[in-house]
Every structure is written in structure tokens, then in C-alpha cells.
Symmetry: C2
């Protein structure tokens, strides 16, 4: 696949660029902001993910010969525009919520500042990355809340686009999943990988016993044997006969998972395999996980519902111009701009944001200020520098995002961690001239 | 991005391979089939897409030094398995439904035949591609039915993963969309691209008039002007003042689209711009499109609902072992295998499929035979060769898939084209020993 991300772009970004270049408005300074008008129905918080990938995409956003030949050959841009694109490199500033941070309606999770020309071009790729990854992380976080201390295994690659699958594994790991089945995510991002065998492996062999023997010989007794290909009880019996009490785990992928887990736990215990864990998989979502809280389950594998955002496959983030200068040049003052489209109005002006905590350290409001905020002692500023003067400064290890997410969710009020449909867990207060004192 | 597709794979494919190599079962001949147990709730047919992309992915499924270093360095496979992988190349046969064809529950849309080792490795990438692309094509086809002869513009890139967006544009084009906003889809697949301007362009300029002037100067009078940034009526007036009756189109992106389209049509006509078209966009899905059938609309732009499969973001296709030999070697006979997992049973044996047509040329059944079928005179065989002995033979231009889809949908009974929730439009008849005569 191509390295450049420059054509992961809607055509109108380029036609706008061309028209603005011709009109002399392309070099006006501009501020674009990414935010969600609302959370998906019933969700109590959203989770930012994809920022690290976006920084890579910005670094790779270059128009080489291949890209330019396509654009000019198809009459999409004229020669002066192609020439401008040939030296394109984002030279502005980006700041935003770091990965793993939670967000609420109107949280300014990303701000892109530069000339209109350089900033408008990033709209599509920024939204694609943040919308998908944040949708997955937002769903994953709810599953992690439901799972409590039991590990979650991401195994949804097969149910989404093959490249989206890699990003989904990354986003899920940020939001609390322990491991992924996706090897490319292991290589690209260091997400821990796992996996043992499918039903096909059992059916390949002349008997389930033969299959289990083959797996144990190759992967050792600590492996996980899949026990629901034919008859669960018989399979568990065979598994313990072959591996003894050292058997790592059994996996159940179908049927009434809670009932089966109880039966299998009793059977394993009776056979002396008290340390053998029970992993359940099969069309689980956060509600299915929560329903198994009282069952003797040691880990959950989640596929379809994770990679499709559990009912909310996009975060519905938008990228809107909120301020721009009246003339070209770095010194021209910015003025707020806003559209008035029915149902889709925007709030003009560059925003900052902070999370307000109460005296107990519990988050109580998302405060979005038009202009610079005056944070109180318990307010936490939410935006961090990501790109400064075109230089990427916001890279961090995935472990940092993962730790941040755990801390941020713990800081939210208890109702944030309810799975039932509800209102956003924090009110978003939009303040035109700095926040009220905390 | 890396060219190899080999790590777009669940880890268990490789651990199964390793165990089978050690057990001497890896070289048993095997048949895997891809099918859906059911259609998404209420859907009347599914649309196959992604096959062409899958053929590319199979060609690129190679384990190079980077891939092997990752796998051995992380203890995922042992040295003998890595050595086997280093010369991996799929040498078997693949046949399946061609792109654009419709499918129903249990339609065998893809069959992969080879050794267990070579065929099991393709599970994840095959499902990822077919599940995503077919989900998009299935949603797109309903939108195309709803739109009738009015063109559909795909503009959902920003609401899904940046690489998925490219595939979504391709799948939508197969299923009837005219154009896409996605430039990478234009370059990679030749999907016609389009796009003019966003609200940001209007807001960049000192007035809407200034913005329209800039756009017309750059893109010509045949362009599409976006008229809902501030006040639609005033914008339409300005647009026609500037461009005259040659104005190509106006776009409305918010509000009550039907009501606005009627008002704008009347206004345009009164201003003499009778040929100026009206394009509507903004959270449309197939139902929103259908609701505008009587409105004076000349084209629809569809984003979020398209790239998220309009409520069904995955096709839920599975990849199941249905037959395998008892011993290694090309001459060992295949025997059917099936699992009995609760709620997820499979039907053993290699399947063929045909669409049965009635005397009027209307499809009346999806006939799936275990073993070779005996087609009647009005039966259409559904599977085509895609890979023969490792050589890709099933590539075709996107235009062929697009034409096929149009013909296949026209052949379905009328209830298939209803948008309301219903049963699959054709019954799937599974026949163990060839179809009954037609």
C-alpha cells in the first residue's frame, strides 16, 4: 500500500484549496476544531483514540508524483494548485485531548491551526482516524468497565475492514483490553497478542482427542482448548485427561455461556483442574459481559461488537472552521466564525477545555472556554500540544494512553460507569470569557 | 504501509498451523466455505463485494523477513513453522460468487480449497475484506433502489477508518453509487470522484458572495454551490446573480430537505435557473432518500449511513471447514465435517449454488447443493473460478461487477426491493444430492 496519506481525502478539500489560492484567501490563518455535537444515543462518555495514528498520518501527508499525476491527470486540480501541493508540509500547530482521555458533547478534542490551505487539507484524514478509533475505544471502555478485573481479549478482526482491524486492536488496548488476536497490531503497536485454535482445528483431526493432543504437544499444557465443537462435557473430560490439572484454560464459544461456565467449572474442579481458567467468547458485548459477572468466568473474548463500536460505529466527530483572519499573514488577528445551518450550528472562536473536579476528586463538569481559561486549583486542563510549527511533539507510548484512560474513567462520577442508556455523565459548560471560579 | 497482508491475521491461524505441522495433519486437503448464517435483521438480500480486493490480498500474502522476525521474536511460532511460512504461497483453488452478485442465508459465497495449512491462514483476511465490503455494498444497494434514477454520491470517508473509506467507496460504486468524494478510491480503483466546497470555504471569506465568486472563478459556473451556511434563500439568490442560469447545482446540507428542495426549486425556476440541479446531503440513509422521492431533488450525497452499513456494519460472514481428507496428499478423498456448537451448527460437505428463475425470468430460489448440482434450463450457476492452482484467474473490471449488480437486483422478485424490514427475498433450499429439476 502507498505510504502517503494525502489522497485519503475528500476531493472538495482540494477544490476549496484551488479556489482559495486563486482568490488570495488560502493563506489566511485559520483554526479548525474537532468535536462531537452529541454522544451516541444513551452513552455517558466518549473516549479519544487515534491521535497517535493521526500524528503519523500528518507526517506522511505529502503529495508525490503519483498523487499529483492522478490529480492533474483527472482534472481535479490545476497546475498552480498542483505546484503548491508538491511542496505541501503542515507547518502549523495542533493541540488536543491526549489518547485515552474522555470527552463529552462539544469537547474540543483537536484543534488545528495554520493557514486555511494547510489546515483544510487535513480534515478528512483527521476525522476518519479519530472517528473510527474513538468509536472503538468508547465501546471498549464500557466493556472494560463491565469486565472489571477479568481480562478482555480483542478478536474482532474478521468482522471489520482488514486495516481498520489493526486500529481497532490498538484503540481497544488503550481503553482496557488486555490482548488482541491481530498480529499486525502486535507488530505495529506492540499490543500483546494471543490465540490458540478454532473449531476447524478440531475438525481437521480424526477425533477431538487427536486434536487436543496435537495442540498440547505444540503449545504446551498452559494452552487454551476449545471445548464446544461437539459436546462440552465430553471435551472437558478429554482435555483434563490429556493435560491434567496444568491445563491453562478451556474456551466456550456457543450456547448459554453462564450456564455452561458453571457446569464446566464444577466439572474442572471435580477433575482436580482447579486452576484451569474458563474463557468465554461468542457474540459478547458490554451487556453480555455484565450478565456473566456472577458466573465463574476468567476472561472474555469480544469480536463483532467491539470492532463495530457496539451500536455506534462512528463517533460522529466533525471538523469545523471556528476562527480565521481577514487577511493573509501570521500577524492578522483571528476572528470567530460560525455557521447557522439548521440543526448544525457551530460556536465560533478558539476553544480551550478543562475538567472540573469536586473536593472529593470526582469530575463534575467539562468546561469549554472560548479563549484562554483561568483554571481553578482543582481544574485539569485537557489539551496538550501535539504539533508545534509543523514538528510533531505529541507522540507517547501506548502504555501512557492506557494508564491515562484508567485514571480518567476512575475520576468520573459513578453514573458514568453504568451501562444503561443515560445522559452524558458530565455537563458541558460553554463559557465565553473563561470559566467561573471553582 | 506494509505491502504484505500476511499479518492481517488472527494469531490462532498460526498456532493451528504449527500444531498441525507437528501432528502431520497440516497437509490434509481441506475445503473452507464463507457464508452468512443469516442476513442482518430485516434485510431482504445481501450483496457480495470485496472479492477483487481479496484476490489482491491473496497475492500479497507472503511472510518476509519483517513478518517472520516479529513472529519468532515474540514466540508466536517456532522455527520449523517460520521456515514453512517463509515459502508460503497459496497454491490451491478459490471459487465464489462474483462481486455484485446477491446472496442469501447459507449462500456459499466463497470456497477455499487447498491443504489445511495453506487455506486456514487466509481465514481472517478473507473475512475482513468480504465482511466489510459486503456490508457496505448491501447498504448501498438499498440506497440505490431508493434513489431510482437519481445519482448517489458517496461522501462518508470521514466517518469510518481512513483505509476502510477507500474500500467503502469501491463497494458503493459496485452497488450503484455514481461517484465518491474519496480521492484514493479514484486512484486505486477508478471510481469517479467529485466534490466542490464545504461550509468552511464560505466562512473563510468575508461574505458568502465573496466565497461564491471565488468558487465560480476557480471551478466554473457548472459547479455546485453550498447554500445553507447562513440563509438558504439569500444564498440561492446570490448564487444565481453570480452564475446566472448556467449554475450547475446548489447543495443543501441541513434542515427539512424536502421542504427546502421545493422552495429552492421554485426560487431557482423563478430566477430562470431551470436547469440548475438540487443536491441534498446530511444524514441521509435509504429511508431518508425514499422519503424525498417526490421532492425536486436531482442527487443525493450519503455519508455516515453508507460507510457504517446503515445499521449493519458487518455482513457476519463466517469461514468454516466443511470437508477434509483423512491423510495428506492430493488424492486422499474429502469427507464432510461439521461442528455441532449450540446455535452455530454447520453443514458438512462442499457446496455448489445456483439461482433458480421462474418462467418470467424472476428469481425464485437460492439452491445450495452439497456436491455437484444438476442445473435446470433456467438455473444460473453462481460460483465462478477465482484462483486455480494458486493462479489468480478471477480479476475483472469494476464496471463488470457494477453491471452485474444492476442485472441481478432487477432479476429478484419485487419484494426484494422493498426497504421495510422483511424476510430474505428468496428461500435458500439446501439439497444434499443435487437440485430437484426446475
Amino acid at each position: 500500500m502507498e505510504t502517503s496519506t494525502a489522497l485519503l481525502t475528500d476531493q472538495y478539500e482540494l477544490t476549496m484549496l484551488q479556489a482559495a489560492l486563486r482568490a488570495g484567501t488560502a493563506e489566511r490563518r485559520a483554526v479548525f476544531e474537532v468535536f462531537a455535537r452529541s454522544l451516541p444515543a444513551g452513552r455517558r462518555y466518549g473516549v479519544v483514540a487515534g491521535t497517535g495514528r493521526l500524528l503519523d498520518a500528518i507526517a506522511d501527508f505529502r503529495f508525490g508524483t503519483d498523487e499529483l499525476d492522478f490529480l492533474t491527470g483527472n482534472g481535479i486540480v490545476d497546475e498552480p494548485t498542483a505546484k503548491w501541493l508538491s511542496s505541501y508540509r503542515f507547518t502549523g500547530d495542533v493541540y488536543g485531548y491526549p489518547e485515552g482521555e474522555c470527552y463529552f458533547p462539544n469537547s474540543p478534542i483537536l484543534s488545528v491551526e495554520g493557514t486555511f490551505a494547510e489546515a483544510v487539507l487535513l480534515e478528512t484524514v483527521a476525522l476518519s482516524i479519530l472517528n473510527y478509533d474513538s468509536a472503538i475505544a468508547s465501546a471498549a471502555s464500557r466493556m472494560a468497565v463491565a469486565a472489571g478485573n477479568r481480562p478482555l481479549i480483542e478478536m474482532g478482526s474478521r468482522r471489520t475492514h482488514e486495516r481498520a482491524a489493526v486500529s481497532a486492536a490498538r484503540a481497544a488496548h488503550i481503553a482496557g483490553f488486555a490482548t488482541t488476536s491481530n498480529l499486525a497490531a502486535g507488530r505495529a503497536y506492540g499490543v500483546p497478542t494471543g490465540g490458540t485454535a478454532a473449531h476447524a482445528f478440531t475438525m481437521l483431526h480424526d477425533s477431538e482427542r487427536h486434536a487436543f493432543e496435537a495442540q498440547l504437544a505444540s503449545l504446551g499444557d498452559a494452552t487454551t482448548l476449545l471445548v464446544d465443537t461437539y459436546d462440552v462435557e465430553r471435551a472437558v473430560k478429554t482435555a483434563v485427561e490429556l493435560a491434567g490439572p496444568a491445563l491453562g484454560a478451556v474456551r466456550i464459544d456457543s450456547g448459554d455461556l453462564g450456564d455452561l461456565a458453571r457446569r464446566v467449572r464444577a466439572q474442572l474442579d471435580a477433575l482436580g483442574a482447579r486452576e484451569t481458567r474458563i474463557i468465554v467468547t461468542g457474540d459478547l458485548d458490554e451487556h453480555g459481559i455484565a450478565a456473566l459477572a456472577a458466573a465463574p468466568v476468567d476472561g472474555y473474548g469480544v469480536g463483532t461488537s467491539l470492532v463495530t463500536g457496539s451500536g455506534a460505529p462512528t463517533a460522529s466527530l466533525v471538523y469545523k472552521l471556528v476562527a480565521r483572519a481577514d487577511r493573509p499573514g501570521p500577524d492578522a488577528p483571528l476572528r470567530p466564525v460560525a455557521k447557522r445551518s439548521t440543526g448544525k450550528p457551530t460556536i465560533g472562536g478558539r476553544k480551550r477545555a478543562l475538567r472540573r473536579l469536586d473536593v472529593h476528586g470526582v469530575a463534575c463538569a467539562e468546561v469549554v472556554t472560548v479563549g484562554e481559561p483561568a483554571p481553578g486549583v482543582r481544574d485539569r486542563l485537557l489539551q496538550v500540544p501535539l504539533v508545534r510549527g509543523g514538528e510533531i511533539v505529541g507522540r507517547e507510548p501506548l502504555t501512557a494512553a492506557r494508564a491515562r484512560h484508567r485514571a480518567v474513567v476512575a475520576e468520573l462520577p459513578p453514573q458514568a460507569r453504568q451501562l444503561s442508556r443515560g445522559e452524558p455523565a458530565l455537563p458541558t459548560e460553554i463559557v465565553a470569557d473563561g470559566p467561573q471560579g471553582a
